[in-house]
């Protein structure tokens, strides 16, 4: 640790905290806390982007950092909190696997991601190449979060967390994506959240709940039979 400059140590620390937050999201049941953790993740990304911009002198990274701050730390969490209040979904029901099992799966995923990333890190040329493994791990962990949840809101948070991981991975491997790509991705994420918000209202109206296993009732075999409560569609 002696020869490593301080800002790189800070970057490593940000990476580790990012991983810790992904794990915390895996184990969380309260949706409000999930969104707050997402906001903290965004803040960490902002700090890391700033550090990297200062270290490498690439000015587009400052713009990227500002975009991250505006979108991921301020706007999206505010939007999600508004959705939570209007839909009144505060708690997630029991996830597919119990907490210990989920954490164990998470650990296996992390080992897999780290071992995958070791040869890639050897090829990359950036100073932060050792955190590629963490980025891959964050992406995979968010995927697991999405799989093991039953409420739609938690799955959206998992999706956004995956995008955070992708962003961090791009930063560690190639010092950020071209500005066009980044703007495009940010716009896509924003539109996705807005569209998903509309969907949630529809789902809630149809099933009176945001529990996604109700969607299984829309299978073909079920749709052919008349609904018992008379609500035909």
């Amino acid at each position: 640790m002696n020869g490593v400059p301080f800002d790189l140590q800070l970057l490593n620390m940000c990476a580790a905290l990012l991983l810790l937050l992904s794990f915390a999201m895996l184990a969380q049941r309260r949706v409000v806390t999930l969104v707050n953790l997402l906001a903290i993740q965004g803040a960490l990304l902002f700090a890391a982007t700033l550090l990297l911009a200062w270290r490498t002198g690439q000015h587009h990274l400052y713009l990227s950092a500002a975009l991250t701050l505006g979108l991921k730390v301020i706007f999206l969490p505010w939007l999600l909190h508004r959705l939570i209040r209007r839909l009144e979904v505060y708690w997630d029901t029991e996830p597919l696997l119990d907490v210990s099992g989920t954490m164990l799966v998470g650990l296996v995923v992390v080992v897999f991601a780290f071992s995958l990333a070791q040869p890639i890190s050897a090829l990359a040329s950036t100073a932060t190449r050792s955190s590629i493994g963490i980025a891959v791990a964050v992406i995979l962990l968010s995927f697991v979060t999405m799989i093991t949840r039953r409420k739609a809101m938690s799955q959206v948070v998992g999706f956004l967390s995956m995008e955070n991981g992708l962003f961090f991975g791009a930063m560690s491997a190639t010092y950020g994506m071209p500005m066009i790509v980044e703007l495009g991705v940010a716009l896509d994420v924003l539109v996705a959240v807005l569209v998903l918000g509309i969907f949630f209202f529809q789902i809630r109206e149809q099933f009176d709940s945001l529990d996604l296993h109700h969607l299984e009732a829309l299978k073909e075999s079920a749709a052919l039979e008349p609904r018992a409560d008379g609500e035909g569609r």
Binding site: L19, S100, M103, S130
Partner: protein, 316 residues
């Protein structure tokens, strides 16, 4: 072995013995302040122990010699453990006899004897407490060992003073793996010392007790020794935390009497802050149900393993 090292060793043990009840009293005071109650006296644990020593020992009719022996063994194990932890200085001669793994082993010895003593009288509460204590222990001990393992990998040794010296004298560095293990260590500390969220140290309901249930049958001098040993355990755990994560201020290998004299008030400051932090954590958390305690500890274990993986990946 320099005379200053011998002095450090003896001073550490005496400080542990003397200051452990004070630390406990300080934590209780902070808790009372946070809960808007009038705090008890800072010296209350001392008065309690003294009062207990004067009383007659009332022992269950079917208690065996193991029951009477256990408090002494538990107390002895805690005192010897205090001699291994570098709270004031790192030049401790006794630590050539026992390293960090032996320290964990000593804590396990205390736990096993406590559980056996609880099972000795054969009441429902004692055996229930023993079962729960061993359940907490069998998940917390590997987590603690993994945490020490991570620190050992960073410092290439398992002797605790060497680890402390290594971490304290190096260029100030942020070790992400230590961040993970710090969180895991806090969780282990809460679990092993029977604090909220695992156990309520002030509870009277036998069905919810973990640590207290093992002390139900003890009275007088035996209870005094067990209470003192519990205070020592909390003190030891706090000092292990300082040695691993906040090692600055400890008198390192080349330090003389001045460094030793400086380390004592620094230790007091660290303990005071730790007490406030502990009281804060206890006040904002709620006690989890007993069958969720393994989840809590499994999280700590997995965090420690994550810390190990992060160390192996990042080299830090």
């Amino acid at each position: 072995m320099r005379p200053i090292d011998l002095l450090t060793q003896i001073l550490e043990v005496i400080a542990a013995l003397a200051a452990a009840p004070l630390f406990l009293g300080w934590v209780n005071q902070c808790r009372a302040w946070l809960q808007n109650r009038r705090p008890p006296s800072l010296w209350l644990p001392y008065l309690g122990i003294r009062k207990l020593f004067h009383k007659d020992a009332v022992i269950a009719a079917n208690a065996s010699a193991l029951f009477r022996l256990a408090p002494y063994v538990v107390f002895g194990a805690m005192v010897v453990a205090a001699a291994i932890i570098p709270s004031m200085g790192t030049g401790l001669p006794f630590t050539t006899a026992a390293d960090a793994i032996a320290l964990v082993g000593l804590l396990a010895t205390a736990r096993v004897f406590q559980s056996l003593a609880a099972m000795d009288v054969g009441t429902a509460f004692g055996t229930l407490g023993a079962r729960r204590e061993m359940m907490v222990g069998f998940l917390a001990e590997p987590a603690l060992l993994t945490i020490i393992f991570v620190a050992s990998l960073i410092s290439a040794t398992t002797a605790l003073p060497e680890i402390t010296e290594n971490l304290a004298t190096q260029h100030l560095g942020l070790y992400p793996s230590l961040a993970f293990t710090a969180v895991a260590f806090t969780m282990v500390l809460l679990a092993e010392n029977a604090r909220i969220p695992i156990d309520n140290p002030a509870t009277h309901l036998e069905l919810t007790m973990i640590h207290e249930a093992m002390l139900l049958e003890y009275s007088a001098r035996h209870l005094a020794l067990m209470e003192w040993a519990a205070a020592l355990k909390l003190f030891n755990y706090a000092c292990i935390g300082f040695a691993l994560f906040i090692p600055w201020g400890v008198s390192t290998g080349a330090g003389g009497p001045a460094a030793l004299a400086l380390s004592i008030p620094l230790l007091a400051v660290k303990l005071a802050l730790a007490g406030v932090a502990l009281a804060l954590i206890e006040t904002v958390s709620a006690k989890v149900r007993v069958f969720r305690a393994p989840e809590f500890l499994a999280t700590a274990f997995l965090l420690a393993m994550l810390g190990l993986l992060v160390h192996l990946l990042l080299g830090a």
